[in-house]
């Protein structure tokens, strides 16, 4: 899946489930975690969504803020996991 499709899918999920973003214009690089758009309960929903939508398995070691702190970083993380998956 090309990266732009991943980005669009993640953005749709975030605007659907975290409506606080509708108030502001959300850039792909905007912080999601510090800004309080996604809290620690919400992030688990996001992880579950990524696992089912992109058929990846998020390991314990992947659960670090750096992988999830912007739409761009989440997309990069998903791509990395997909590539890992294919090479196995």
């Amino acid at each position: 899946m090309p990266q732009q499709t991943i980005i669009t899918s993640i953005r749709t999920f975030i605007s659907g489930n975290f409506p606080a973003v509708r108030k502001r214009k959300l850039e792909d690089t905007d912080p999601l975690l510090q800004s309080g758009i996604i809290d620690s309960m919400g992030i688990l929903d996001l992880v579950e969504h990524l696992e089912t939508t992109f058929d990846i398995s998020v390991a314990d070691d992947d659960l670090v803020p750096e992988n999830f702190d912007s739409i761009e970083n989440i997309a990069a993380f998903v791509e990395k996991k997909q590539n890992q998956h294919q090479s196995v």
């Binding site: 659907g16 975290f18 409506p19 606080a20 509708r22 108030k23 975690l33 510090q34 309080g36 996604i38 809290d39 620690s40 309960m41 919400g42 992030i43 688990l44 314990d60 659960l63 670090v64 803020p65 999830f68």
Partner: protein, 521 residues
């Protein structure tokens, strides 16, 4: 002796100046660092015009600055008003107005967002942010936050322990959040009492993840500095980061709310794979710990003492269940904390017998002074001690909690529910009317009522009953989105149900019990 909150730091500094006091990210401050910065901050505020007893808001993310502004405000003879960094500008503006705030400690981004929402010039004497050489906004002076901590000046303190130290904003069953007033003596008593039953000593390394605007979170920093212990602060997104921090910093004590423990008890947190031999105790407050979560924690942390606690901001801290009672009565909120008496009083005003449901009434040194600027509400919650000898007149006030409880034969207390409609979700107190007002503001509804639905993880979640205007077809999603734009996430309902009309009582008010019955509650 120390009588004021910042004097606890002075005493700990005299005892062990080089001891690690505060850790955040890669900053590690000794007691002597902390004391120097706190004193400097106090003097800076006084130079900026802070008068004794004036209020200073703290609207920052967890950080060294956030922690030290608390004591620094007290050192300048001021009253600190800590605010959760998750709340929105409109809620901050409410607090600012309600407590007639003099100064604010925040970030430049947050300050600009507040300015955008103000009707006129800012009503403050000064604001501290990270901006350098920033011009005044109207008559509000701008001060650099780092500079404030690094002068070599000493404040002039005239406060005594009877003076106000803090105002903690919390919600009730109606209206906007109200500020609970606490004196130095009351907060200090809370710290001494909790240190006593948790056995906190200078050996402790306490991890602070609860916000300081929450009485239990504030109490953690107070006990740490009072006992010359070390406090580690952190921001977290994943429960796993907390587990890593517990391990890395050899944390001995952690306080949490049920939501946090639910996150920690899930496998992704790696709590079950991480040995934590240093972790001496954990405490739960802000709602009942779900039993499966409690069982999981006991399994993962066999060496750790688990204290289940109960308290309300109006009386700071009230009861705890000693760890040795966890097996025999895991659903109890325990007994009175030291130096405190908990009464269970029935509708007739008499003490309840075992098994009889009554209101929890708290008597002791941590009973607050009530709500800032709301004498009528204060008089409902703080009333004369009903069993005082007539000679003592109405001198002593006790706190009527609004929580319904019952006692067992051995005097242990069990929480039953609220007397009013207040909702408690993930440790936050939520007023139904505050959520309802926002739903009304979307302009497409003629009726809205929200209730709390029992929730395994959150304690309660919010359900909204909405009556749409005749010509409106506003959707659930649109209502929830509107709420999320105007309310912090913990106040946003999880479910909406549309009704043709809301059930009403004969006097025309919303019949909340009828709504709860609809849900089988």
């Amino acid at each position: 002796m120390e009588y004021l909150l910042h004097e606890m730091i002075r005493r700990s500094t005299e005892l062990q100046p080089e001891k690690e006091a505060l850790v955040f990210k890669n900053e590690r401050l000794t007691y002597s660092d902390v004391y120097g910065r706190v004193m400097s901050f106090g003097r800076t505020l006084q130079q900026a015009g802070l008068q004794r007893g004036e209020r200073v808001g703290i609207y920052l993310e967890p950080s060294v600055e956030q922690a030290l502004s608390i004591f620094g405000t007290n050192a300048g003879d001021g009253v600190f008003v800590p605010m959760n960094h998750q709340i929105f500008p409109e809620q901050v503006l409410h607090i600012m107005k309600d407590c007639e705030m003099t100064g604010l400690v925040t970030t430049e981004n947050r300050w600009q967002a507040l300015l955008e929402q103000m009707d006129g010039p800012p009503p403050l004497k000064f604001v501290l942010t990270e901006a350098k050489d920033s011009p005044a906004d109207g008559s509000t002076a701008k001060i650099n936050l780092q500079d404030a901590f690094h002068t070599s000046l000493q404040p002039e303190s005239r406060c005594i322990e009877k003076d106000l130290a803090a105002i903690l904003y919390t919600s009730g069953s109606t209206g906007k959040p109200k500020g609970v007033m606490l004196t130095h003596a009351q907060i200090m008593a809370g710290s001494t009492i909790v240190s006593d039953y948790l056995g906190i000593t200078e050996k402790e390394r306490i991890l602070a993840v609860l916000p300081f605007n929450f009485d239990a979170g504030l109490n953690q920093i107070m006990t740490a500095f009072q006992q010359c212990a070390s406090l580690v602060m952190m921001n977290f997104v994943f429960a796993r980061e907390i587990v890593k921090m517990l391990e890395k910093e050899s944390i001995t004590g952690l306080a949490g709310v049920p939501t946090l423990w639910s996150l920690l008890s899930q496998p992704q947190s790696t709590l079950d794979k991480t040995p934590l031999p240093a972790l001496r105790y954990i405490t739960n407050t802000g709602g009942a710990m779900p039993q499966p979560v409690l069982a999981k924690l006991r399994e993962c942390l066999p060496q750790t003492l688990i204290f289940l606690m109960y308290g309300l901001t109006e009386a700071f801290r009230s009861t705890y269940l000693p760890p040795d009672q966890l097996n025999s009565r895991p659903t109890s909120i325990g007994k009175a904390i030291p130096d405190t008496e908990i009464l269970v009083i029935n509708e007739q005003g008499n003490p309840c017998k075992p098994g009889e449901i009554g209101e929890l009434v708290h008597r002791g040194p941590t009973v607050s002074l009530g709500y800032w600027g709301h004498p009528d509400l204060t008089d409902q919650v703080l009333r004369p001690y009903p069993f005082a000898a007539p000679q003592l007149r109405d001198w002593e006030k006790v706190c009527y909690s609004g929580d319904l409880v019952k006692l067992d034969e051995e005097g242990y207390i069990y929480f039953i529910g609220r007397r009013d409609t207040m909702i408690k979700s993930s440790g936050f107190r939520i007023s139904p009317t505050e959520v309802e007002e926002v739903i009304f503001r979307c302009g497409q509804v003629v009726g809205a009522a929200v209730i709390g639905i029992p929730d395994e993880v959150l304690g309660q979640h919010i359900k909204a009953f909405v009556v749409r205007k005749n010509n409106s077809d506003i959707s659930t999603e649109a209502i929830l989105a509107f709420c999320a734009e105007h309310l912090p996430r913990y106040m946003v309902p999880q479910a909406v149900e549309f009704l043709n009309e809301l059930p009403k009582t004969p006097s025309g008010k919303v019949d909340y019990p009828a709504l709860r019955r609809r849900e089988g509650l």
